[in-house]
């Protein structure tokens, strides 16, 4: 009897051990399968380099004369003041006059090339770099590049490997050096998505809209930001879109006012404090790039609402958030200015400012 009880216990123990062994084996197999599946997904989703078919549409390239003509037409179509007989005399609004940027920003340029750590100026380009402490800690920094151009073609976008595609990546520094840029920051990392408007240097590469806001820089130097519902590609092409990025969200409203947190067109996690990269627009020919360091004990980064407020404080009329986090990087004159989180990472594109003075077009 005692022997039989002991045998039964032994059997039960063995059975339990077998069940435990089988459970562990199943769990390990499932985890391995999951890891293999995720790696395969990652390879096909974003790691595998693949050239994409570009839409290849070329947007119109208005000359300064065309811009002048457009401004004149605007002036003609504006309502005329009523005659003296039936209304009080109103001083007519001044007709907009096109002033070449080289004259408009003449005080920003120098006769000779002056290149220092704090900035660069030449007869046709000015970039001034400011390092600003935003938190209590000394390491909490953002970098502001104040940019004055004489020609919109000094502002370009560089694609990784010079190819429109997916999984093609290069660091901002590599792209900056390869393209001979003076200044470069992270772009919209268009390569992570299948949709979203992509216009680069006057060529429409992708026409499908996504749910993200769009930023358009026009040949006349103006920059506008759109919600997905407002944006029309045909209209953008007609208006002379030179660059269009899809990342966002847009950071200032039509009056240049900051946008409250709840109204920013992105997820809650993105709105939290993070390293940031963004572009601000003051007027045609005058822009700024901002990169904020973060995700460290001392420097958490900025929330999108704070980033929006920053551009409003800078006096920008429009501003747009670009790829931040570990991607946020600013390159200037051969080196990376900021301290990217975990050393940064390679991205699919970047925005550059290039010196054209004394160079063949």
């Amino acid at each position: 009897m005692l022997y039989s009880v002991s045998m039964n216990r032994e059997k039960e123990k063995r059975r339990r051990r077998r069940i435990l062994y089988e459970s562990i084996r199943t769990a390990v197999t499932t985890l391995l399968l999951l890891a293999v599946s995720l790696l395969t997904f990652a390879w096909f989703h974003h790691a595998r380099p693949k050239q994409r078919m570009s839409a290849g549409l070329v947007t119109a390239t208005p000359t300064p004369a065309a811009v002048l003509q457009a401004l004149d037409q605007d002036a003609l179509s504006s309502p005329q003041p009523p005659s003296a007989s039936d209304a009080p005399i109103i001083t007519p609004e001044p007709t907009p006059v096109y002033i070449p940027w080289i004259e408009k920003f003449a005080d920003k340029f120098t006769a000779d090339v002056v290149s220092t750590e704090a900035g660069y100026s030449s007869p046709d380009l000015s970039v001034q770099i400011t390092q600003v402490q935003y938190g209590k800690a000394k390491t909490a920094m953002y970098y502001l590049a104040d940019i004055y151009l004489t020609d919109i073609f000094q502002f370009e976008t560089v694609l990784a490997k010079d190819t429109f595609g997916r999984g093609l990546r290069e660091s901002v520094k590599e792209m900056g050096q390869r393209s001979g840029a003076l200044l470069a920051i992270t772009g919209d990392t268009y390569g992570n998505q299948d949709t979203g408007i992509v216009i680069r240097n006057g060529v429409v590469h992708r026409q499908e809209k996504s749910e993200f806001d769009v930023c358009v820089l026009y040949y006349d130097g103006s920059m506008r930001t759109f919600s997905p519902a407002e944006f029309s590609l045909d209209q953008a092409i007609q208006d002379g879109a030179y660059q269009a990025w899809t990342f966002g969200p847009l950071l200032l409203d039509e009056d240049g006012q900051p946008i409250p947190d709840a109204q920013l067109n992105t997820s809650k996690n993105i709105r939290r404090a993070n390293p940031r990269a963004g572009i601000g627009y003051y007027e045609p020919g005058h822009y700024c790039f901002v990169v904020v360091d973060g995700r460290t004990d001392d420097a958490s980064g900025l929330t999108l609402e704070q980033f929006s407020q920053l551009f409003a404080d800078l006096g920008c009329k429009a501003a747009y958030n670009l790829d931040g986090g570990r991607s946020a990087e600013m390159y200037y004159n051969g080196s990376v200015l900021n301290d990217p989180y975990k050393g940064g990472r390679s991205v699919s594109d970047c925005l550059i400012i290039r010196e054209t003075f004394g160079k063949e077009p």
Binding site: T30, L33, N192, Q193, D194, T195, N269, G325
Partner: protein, 83 residues
């Protein structure tokens, strides 16, 4: 063979459901990476749905089968005069 098929379907379903949950979490953190609205995930979702349907049918079939078996046993016990 049928047992192996059911086991494989269930393993794949567990892996797919874990993948979908991971994509949902990642999408919350970084929607611009487009983990949910790409063609691969859509394809995986189709596979997930079809396998779930198949698994559901297997489960229903085994329940119905089990009921009939139980019914037979009860019937047999009645025949042998258990009342």
């Amino acid at each position: 063979m049928r047992r192996l098929l059911i086991k494989s379907v269930q393993s794949v379903l567990i892996v797919l459901s874990l993948m979908m949950m991971i994509f949902l979490v990642l999408d919350g953190f970084n929607p611009t990476m487009n983990f949910l609205r790409n063609s691969i995930t859509k394809g995986l979702l189709w596979v997930f749905s079809l396998l779930s349907l198949l698994n559901g049918l297997f489960v229903m079939a085994s329940i119905i089968n089990g009921r009939f078996r139980t019914g037979k046993k009860k019937h047999r016990s009645n025949v042998h005069g258990e009342e």
